[in-house]
């Protein structure tokens, strides 16, 4: 009981693992109960999502463990490497040619952050190395193409766990490392992330694939979270690291809601192209409201980023960086617009061809949707719940034992 209480204590790994658990539950229900294909395919999707959630939970548990486990980057790299196996299985379980064709790309992209993390001892635990590993893990722009490929290839549930696992495992590391960066490099980081997030977000509304729009949204939020961590406290009015972690967690908590509601429609239509979804929900009132509510709720709970960017833009303490922050804000607006327009098209758009309407929201779906909304809102209203593992803060790193000496 004491161990469990310690686990659930705030701050700690508990809140992050709770977000992951919610995402895994949504994925298992979506793929296992409502997924397309025979029982075996649905079961394999659900098991793959469960395995990925479990592997990511272990990685989180390890990161928060006391020394020496929590301070050994090689051991944590092992945990990151193990995420590759369930991703391979998820890709393999995807029917048709898309799964096998993309599985190599997914497995390589999931291995990349693990490889980078394993080399951090060689680089003297400098924050740049750890930041690189974290950015690749959370698929921050411009390192997000594999995430978009996953959106096309995986099921909606598998994509949900993949995105959320990436954020909860790599997000705290990315934010902690960004905070520890020297000033000169941090400036370039802010400008680079701002431009990348801006371009990705502004391109999102033109994306025809519904799940790719969601993946682009997730990627933009991840990039903005790291950017927020380097804004001056005087500009944003609160601790930037805490703000970044809170935004990251809220965005991650919104993803299961978004993917569950949209994923049900994608599963029913069997395609994710928005052209096939136009006006599909015009005759199903409750489901249409659920889709719109999920899109708006996801946007609202991720509102910390644009508010902070706006505050920084209006702040006198920043110079030419404000231009870049403006680009980042435009990216957030573009990504949000992509979600809103997609939902609107599904509800009010023109039907491409007459056909059977989507079934109305069932009781279980409604219950789960409400639960996901509640989880997303909770993540927003408890910002102090979100912290980074002590081993990844600069103070702990300085006192951590180094790798064994050869001499």
């Amino acid at each position: 009981m004491a161990g469990a209480a310690k686990w659930l204590a705030l701050p700690g790994p508990g809140p992050w693992i709770a977000v992951l658990a919610v995402a895994t539950l949504a994925a298992v229900v979506l793929d296992g109960l409502y997924g397309a294909g025979p029982t075996r395919t649905r079961a394999s999707h659900a098991l793959g999502s469960l395995a990925l959630g479990a592997a990511a939970s272990w990685a989180m548990f390890l990161a928060w463990s006391p020394a020496p486990a929590g301070h050994d980057p090689l051991l944590q790299a092992v945990a990151w490497w193990l995420l590759v196996l369930p991703v391979f299985a998820l890709g393999a379980a995807t029917p048709g040619v898309e799964g096998p064709r993309v599985v190599a790309r997914l497995a390589a992209s999931q291995a990349a952050p693990a490889v980078l993390l394993a080399f951090t001892p060689a680089l003297g635990f400098r924050p740049v190395g750890m930041l690189a590993a974290g950015l690749v893990r959370i698929a921050a722009p411009p390192l997000h193409p594999a995430c978009l490929a996953a959106a096309e290839a995986l099921s909606a549930g598998g994509l949900c766990v993949l995105l959320v696992a990436g954020v909860v495992v790599g997000g705290p590391l990315a934010v902690s490392s960004a905070v520890a960066l020297p000033e000169g490099i941090a400036r370039w980081l802010v400008m680079g992330l701002a431009v990348a997030a801006g371009v990705t977000g502004m391109a999102a509304p033109s994306e025809p694939h519904l799940l790719r729009r969601v993946a682009a949204w997730a990627s933009v939020q991840a990039g903005l979270a790291v950017l927020l961590a380097r804004l001056p406290e005087s500009a944003v009015g609160r601790d930037p690291a805490a703000l970044a972690l809170s935004h990251l967690a809220a965005s991650a908590a919104g993803l299961p809601l978004l993917l569950f509601t949209l994923g049900r429609v994608v599963v029913w239509t069997r395609v994710a192209d928005l052209a096939a979804h136009g006006g599909l929900l015009s005759s199903t009132l409750v489901r249409a409201q659920a889709v719109v509510a999920s899109a708006l709720a996801s946007i609202l709970i991720a509102a910390q980023a644009p508010l902070a960017l706006l505050a920084a833009l209006l702040s006198a303490s920043l110079g030419v960086e404000r231009v870049f922050l403006g680009i980042a804000l435009a990216g957030w607006i573009g990504a949000a617009l992509g979600l809103v327009l997609g939902a609107y098209r599904m509800v009010r758009g023109r039907r491409a061809a007459p056909g059977e309407p989507v079934p109305e929201l069932g009781r279980l779906e409604a219950l789960l949707t409400l639960l996901l909304i509640a989880a997303a809102v909770l993540s927003l209203i408890y910002p102090r719940a979100w912290s980074a593992p002590p081993a990844w803060t600069s103070g702990a790193r300085a006192s951590a034992p180094g790798p064994p000496s050869l001499r």
Partner: protein, 457 residues
Amino acid sequence: MSGTSRRGFAIRVGLVSWAALSLLAASTLTGIAPRLVFDGQMALDLPAFLLIALVAAGSAVSALMAAASSAPRATPLILATLAALTWALAACSLDLASAAVLWGAGWILAAAAMGRAGGPERLEAAVKVQGLGAASALILVLGAALASGLAGSTHLLEAGYQLAARPDSHVLALASARVVLVGIALAAAWVPFHFWAPDALGAGPRPVALVFALAAPLAASLALARVLLALDPTLQLLQVNWRGGLFAFAALTGAVGGSVALVQRDAARLTAYLTVVQCAELFPALVAEPGEGRLWMRAAIAHGVALAPAWLALAAWSEASGEATDWNALSGRGRRVPLQAFLWVAALALAAGFPGGVRFLARPEMARAAPDPWLWALLLALSTLLQWAAVVRLARVLFLQGAADWTGASAPPSRGARAWPAWIVVALAIAFEIWFALAAWRPLFSGARDFGLLPGG
């Protein structure tokens, strides 16, 4: 020509081993070997013994694998072992001319090993090995000649001293060093001098390929380490950025080898190219500190322990089980023989750096020991990812591609049940690698003792 029986194979290998040990004992007792050492012609230090031990272990494991195949052939393996031992002696030789002769002899034996294995592909590989090997030996002779002309001696230590003491021949001094480097690079299969490796390793008998994959790069890197130590004063005087040059070699080898490995449609050639990439991972040990043998020994052991299971698995798949290795034949084959396919993929994954393998621990350590850890970390990370992508590609072909059902007459026959000794060897090799990585890697050669590369360095 049919292969010999297992008993005949064992008798031949046993006889040759007994003859080799007798020769070694005789040369020691009669004083020939000690005289070479004390006269300064050979450097039989701990790295040299380690190299010979790794070659011997590789040959022993290859013999075990060859014995497990359906038609074991002793002659190619014996010739390959002799070639490897000759290369090892060349790496221990402190006389450039003698080393060139030994390298040349080794290449002749290697070509003979390939040719004796039979088959048009192997004959073609033998011609390539012979040609490039002769080129390597001739280039080393040229290097020895330049050194002799400049320094008045082909002895490595004397030449290094004399070249530093004669600042009026900078261009030729640099040229002689570069010529020797090219000769060694040909032996080590570093890009762009790697052309013998894909054919010799990919088309040759697997036991022979394992011996070559172990011996050639290790011997060449040890030889280069001694050359760098001897020429270090000269290179410092001439302000040559030799570390940058070696980084360029490593980057080319890793990037080109890894990229080409990704587009291969045959598992044997894929493994050959992965071996070429892994040869580049010996470079950090060379650039760290001239004369430091400890890093080279750790890198050499990591190379050997990681490489062996991959080639053993390929041998078990292609020779013991009689399965083809091209993509068309492999497509979906893993679903029919899942345990064997899993062992194969696991062996390659550990060699690529998956946790549990010795390379997972060795790579960050090598990057940290190099003077520019950032560059080497980036290079080794890229190498890891390219190798990992190639392994995943193989796993995809084995398990995810092909027809869903393999039943009845449409499924090609497999000797899987009779090849179980070979797969047991593979499983043991994988288990050994994991044990070694977890238990034996960290304390290996640790401590304050100095492991220098040259006598009286």
